[in-house]
């Protein structure tokens, strides 16, 4: 660096926004103090925390960004539930993949990563109703998680699928993880329904877009949901697949309206304009997950602190007056 450039840089540094002083307000310090209490408390002295990952096809890769912020902040996550892409991300996270590993795995996703899509198959799908197979999803999850079962994951995990014979939401929390995840993201109208445990299974997003119920089934007392809905009002479907996507997204949004009220806290990455098959925008989706989670992190911490106080308080009382 030349002397002139160095002097200019110094002048610019002086003109830069002043370094913010640490926030020593009553609210900020009390929040910091109580967040420490929550993080250091043994699990029985705070609510069991459930991370809920919504459906949302490739938009759901934004969940990786959300997880990276929560992990970075030391947010306690006890159980995980996911639907469709939320199930894929959630299974890998519950299986012990680190944030950089999740990030790398998501970046490697292509439109045909979880299926046998090809030009010939697509023509066959449109002209002759020959649905695609989602077997590659199962193989990929099996490879990543080493063929583990639900009870072998590092965090309790559940995922949701739908039985097309009965319309029931089927919550998987035992057995083979890879098969259950495949069933959970088996998009109807594109993939062949999966026959498993005497059920004929398609994507759980049709009935359980934000699977708060699955997290509760795992014992979650406080849930934080990452929601990657589509903004279908901006879409103008021009093909059979576009129309199908639009219908699924509208259905998902209606479901989501009711389900979002069940979660204690919502994080909503702004990925509504990312299409179901836009694999090139996965990095953008993940970054939007980071931005959305970082923006709401303080509020999420506050919400969990307030929910934890009733369980923390007896430990703060005089020993003879405690529980």
């Amino acid at each position: 660096m030349t002397r002139r450039a160095f002097l200019l840089a110094l002048a610019l540094i002086a003109a830069a926004p002043a370094a913010a002083a640490p926030d020593l307000s009553a609210d900020a310090l009390l929040r910091d103090h109580l967040w420490r209490e929550v993080r250091l408390a043994p699990p029985e002295r705070r609510p069991k925390v459930g991370l809920v990952l919504s459906a949302g096809s490739l938009r759901g890769t934004a969940h990786v960004g959300v997880i990276s912020v929560l992990e970075g902040a030391g947010f306690p996550i006890d159980v995980v539930a996911g639907t469709s892409m939320g199930a894929v991300v959630g299974s890998m996270y519950s299986g012990g993949l680190t944030v950089p590993e999740l990030w790398k795995t998501a970046l490697a996703v292509k439109v045909d990563s979880g299926n046998n899509l090809s030009g010939r198959r697509l023509i066959s799908l449109v002209l002759f109703d020959n649905l695609l197979s989602s077997e590659k999803t199962e193989l990929s999850i099996r490879k990543t998680l080493g063929g583990r079962r639900f009870d072998q994951l590092k965090k309790p995990f559940a995922c949701v699928s739908m039985d097309v014979y009965t319309g029931e939401a089927i919550i998987f929390r035992d057995g083979d993880v890879a098969t259950a995840v495949r069933a959970s993201m088996n998009l109807p109208g594109i993939f062949q329904p999966l026959e498993y445990r005497h059920r004929y299974l398609v994507d759980g997003g049709v009935v359980d877009y934000i699977p708060v119920d699955a997290a509760r089934l795992l014992g979650a007392e406080w849930t934080i949901a990452s929601i990657t809905e589509n903004d279908y009002t901006a879409a103008r479907p021009k093909s059979v697949l576009d129309s199908l996507e639009q219908v699924i997204d509208i259905r998902g949004s209606f479901l989501s309206r009711a389900q979002r009220k069940q979660a204690n806290f919502l994080i909503e990455p702004q990925v509504g304009d990312i299409g179901m098959f836009e694999a090139a925008r996965i990095p953008e989706a993940m970054e939007k997950g980071v931005i959305a989670a970082a923006k709401k992190l303080t509020a999420a911490e506050q919400s969990l602190i307030l929910a934890s106080i009733p369980k923390l308080a007896p430990g703060w009382a005089a020993p003879e007056t405690g529980r």
Partner: protein
């Protein structure tokens, strides 16, 4: 005359303007007197001298410097919009000039327009990979958006170039604390204190770094140092909470009372006092303190009031549980 000289002269005269670039941009030195006014801090005189008619006579380095001077001095006079226009005009004429690009980026960042500032800083780094201001701008933007690791990397790059700025070391340490890289944060803060030993902010941050490493005693010493250097009541408030965490109830109560003497109704201090009363079995006293926090709800105590409400409910339950136990016996 050397035999090749006429040929060189002819070539030079025939060359297009851009052929001068390898030898530096042309400058007639017309801006030099205005630069002196700028260096003397005479912003209004600088802007008065840089009339459109005068600017039309400038070229090369002079013209570029004129836009920088206009932008800098408009900004100095508290007119950031005018400064942005000056820099934008300069960038449109000199799109590869890192000084103009980084100035424009920094002012947009300062005005909260990070989406427009970020590509400018990235352009600067593409042209000059070791540009401290561009790295600093990106570090601040990434930090604000939640990309903490990227932010830390940009701070590291900035500090390689500008390692004598105590505030930059502090900003870097804050990012490291958020990343829970407390040992490195500790080192960065010590470096900041070497450069600026009387910084209360650095002592406060060091207190948080030491507490994160489990050294509550050391953290409290740092808060005392910060208070002595003028950190204000905030340092005492933090000390009251740290003492509570250390289980030193009497000292925590004394510190909380000292804060309340300065700031009556302080949410954090009342919380500490309520907690010490709860620990002594005085649930009624704790509830009275918590009711006071609730009464000051809004503004500075918004979260404290919510937390107080939750603890007041729990304290009443603890008391009724104790009474039930008493009557059962």
């Amino acid at each position: 005359m050397r035999p090749w000289a006429p040929l060189a002269l002819a070539l030079a005269l025939a060359a297009p303007a851009r052929a001068w670039r390898p030898f530096g941009e042309p400058s007639d030195g017309k801006v030099r007197p205005i630069q002196e006014l700028n260096d003397a801090g005479k912003a209004r005189e600088v802007l008065a001298a840089l009339t459109p008619e005068f600017i039309q006579t400038l070229r090369g380095t002079d013209l570029r410097q004129a836009y920088i001077l206009m932008g800098d001095n408009h900004d100095r006079l508290g007119r950031p919009d005018a400064a942005v226009s000056d820099y934008q005009l300069g960038v449109s004429l000199f799109p590869k000039n890192v000084d103009l690009l980084s100035r424009l980026g920094m002012i947009l960042h300062r005005e909260g327009l990070d989406e427009q500032a970020k590509p400018l800083f990235l352009r600067v780094l593409a042209l000059e990979p070791h540009h401290g201001t561009a790295h600093q701008g990106l570090a601040e933007i990434d930090r604000k958006l939640g990309f903490l690791e990227r932010s830390a990397e940009h701070y590291e790059a900035t500090l390689e170039i500008l390692d004598t700025h105590a505030d930059l070391w502090r900003d870097y340490a804050e990012v490291l604390l958020a990343l829970r890289e407390v040992k490195t944060a500790d080192l960065a803060l010590r470096k900041s204190l070497e450069l600026e030993p009387k910084s209360p902010d650095a002592h406060v941050l060091l207190a948080f770094a030491r507490r994160a490493q489990g050294d509550l005693g050391g953290a409290i010493d740092d808060l005392d140092a910060a208070y002595a250097l003028g950190a204000g009541v905030g340092a005492r408030r933090a000390k009251a909470l740290f003492l509570l965490e250390a289980g030193k109830m009497d000292e925590a109560l004394a510190e909380a009372n000292a804060v309340l003497a300065e700031v009556p109704g302080d949410g954090a201090a009342l919380w500490v006092r309520a907690r010490t009363r709860l620990a002594r079995g005085d649930e009624d006293g704790a509830v009275r303190d918590l009711e006071q926090v609730k009464a000051t709800e809004g503004g500075r105590n918004a979260f404290a009031a919510q937390a107080a409400r939750a603890l007041a409910v729990a304290a009443r339950q603890i008391r009724s549980g104790r009474e039930d136990e008493f009557y059962r016996k």
